[in-house]
Symmetry: C2
Subunit: 193 residues, 2 copies
C-alpha cells in the first residue's frame, strides 16, 4: 500500500518565533472587478529559508505553498480541530513547481490559490506566490491532494458533504479568475521530447 | 528578465547542528552487477522536518533533494570553492515531486541521482529517495536546472569543458541504470485530460 506525506496542522507550524499569518480570506470585492483570488497565506521570508546571498532556497518556496495548503484545508472543513474530530486530512500526492523570480530575505509574500479541479476524493490546486499585494507571479505550484481517512489506514476517502459544499462555493467565487499559467507542465529540454 | 532560486553552497547548509552527510560517491562496483546508482546525499530525518506524527512534511522531501543537487554540483566542478572562483552556479527552473511512501523521524535516508539529459547549459536530473541501502523508492523528483554566470546577471551560460566532461563520465557510469519511473509527469485527475 502506498502512503503519502501527512500535512502538519496549522497549530504545529514551524514558525521559529517569527510571526507568520494564515489569512484564508477573500479580499474585499468591487462588483465591477473580477472576483479577487483567494489569498491563503502571508509571511515574511525568514532567515532560516535563505542562502548566503539572502535568496529564498528552492525547497522553501514549497514550504510556503505547503502552509497555504494548510490554510486551504481550513476553508473546506479540514482545520486542525476538525481533522482531530473527523479523523480526515489531505495528503500530497504530487507537486510541480516553477521558479520564476528570486525572492529575498524579509520580503513580505502571499500565496493566492485556485482550485483547478476536484473529484469525490482528490483536489487539484494551483498556488501562486506574489509579493503581498503585488502583480508579478514569483513562483507557481500545481498540486494533487488526496482526502484520506487517517483512522482507516490512512486510506483514500470521499470528501464530506461539508467539504464538497465548501469546494463548490470557492469554485463559484473564483469562476472569473484567469486560467493559471503553469499547469499541465512536462519537464523537458527545449527542442526535445 | 527572469531570475531563479540560487542554490546554497554545501558549506552553508542549514543542518541545525545535526550531522548530515554529503557523500557524492559511487558505491563499490561488482563487475557482474549493473553499475550502482550515484548516491548523492545521506541524512537522518531531522526533528525540524516532521509533523506532530513524526512524518516528513512534503516540502522537506524537496529540501533533501535540494541538498542532493548541491552534492551533484560538487561532482561536476561547481562545488562551493569552484563557484566562488568561477562565478558560476546552477539555478532550479522547475521541480516535479511524487510522494510514494511516508518517511519518519530519525530514519536514515539517501538520495540516488540520475542524469536524464543535458544540453550546453541545462541539466535534467532525477532524484530518488530511499532508506539508506534500501530498495523501495519513497519519493521521486524530476528537475530542470540551469547553469548561470552569477557575475553577469545572473545569466544563463554554457557549461565549462570540465563540467561537460564530468557530465559525460557520470552518464557513461550510469548507462545501464533502469529508466526512472516518475518522469514526464503531467498532473491531472484520473479519467480527465
Amino acid at each position: 500500500m502506498q502512503l503519502w506525506t501527512l500535512r502538519i496542522p496549522t497549530t504545529q507550524r514551524v514558525t521559529r518565533g517569527v510571526p507568520t499569518q494564515s489569512v484564508g480570506t477573500i479580499n474585499p470585492h468591487n462588483p465591477e472587478d473580477p472576483m479577487p483570488a483567494l489569498s491563503t497565506y502571508q509571511t515574511p521570508i525568514l532567515a532560516d529559508w535563505v542562502d548566503y546571498n539572502g535568496h529564498l532556497r528552492d525547497a522553501f518556496y514549497l514550504l510556503i505553498f505547503s502552509y497555504a495548503t494548510d490554510a486551504f484545508m481550513d476553508r473546506i472543513g479540514l482545520a486542525c480541530d476538525d481533522r482531530d474530530a473527523s479523523g480526515h486530512s489531505l495528503f500530497t500526492l504530487e507537486a510541480h513547481i516553477n521558479y520564476l523570480h528570486e525572492v529575498k530575505l524579509d520580503e513580505e509574500v502571499e500565496v493566492r490559490t485556485q482550485i483547478v479541479a476536484h473529484d469525490s476524493k482528490r483536489v487539484q490546486l494551483y498556488h501562486s506566490l506574489y509579493k503581498t499585494g503585488g502583480e508579478q507571479e514569483l513562483a507557481a505550484s500545481e498540486q494533487m491532494l488526496l482526502h484520506v481517512d487517517l483512522a482507516a489506514g490512512p486510506k483514500a476517502a470521499p470528501f464530506s458533504e461539508q467539504s464538497l459544499h465548501a469546494l463548490a462555493a470557492l469554485i463559484e467565487a473564483q469562476h472569473d479568475q484567469p486560467t493559471p499559467r503553469y499547469t499541465g507542465r512536462v519537464i523537458g529540454l527545449p527542442g526535445k521530447a
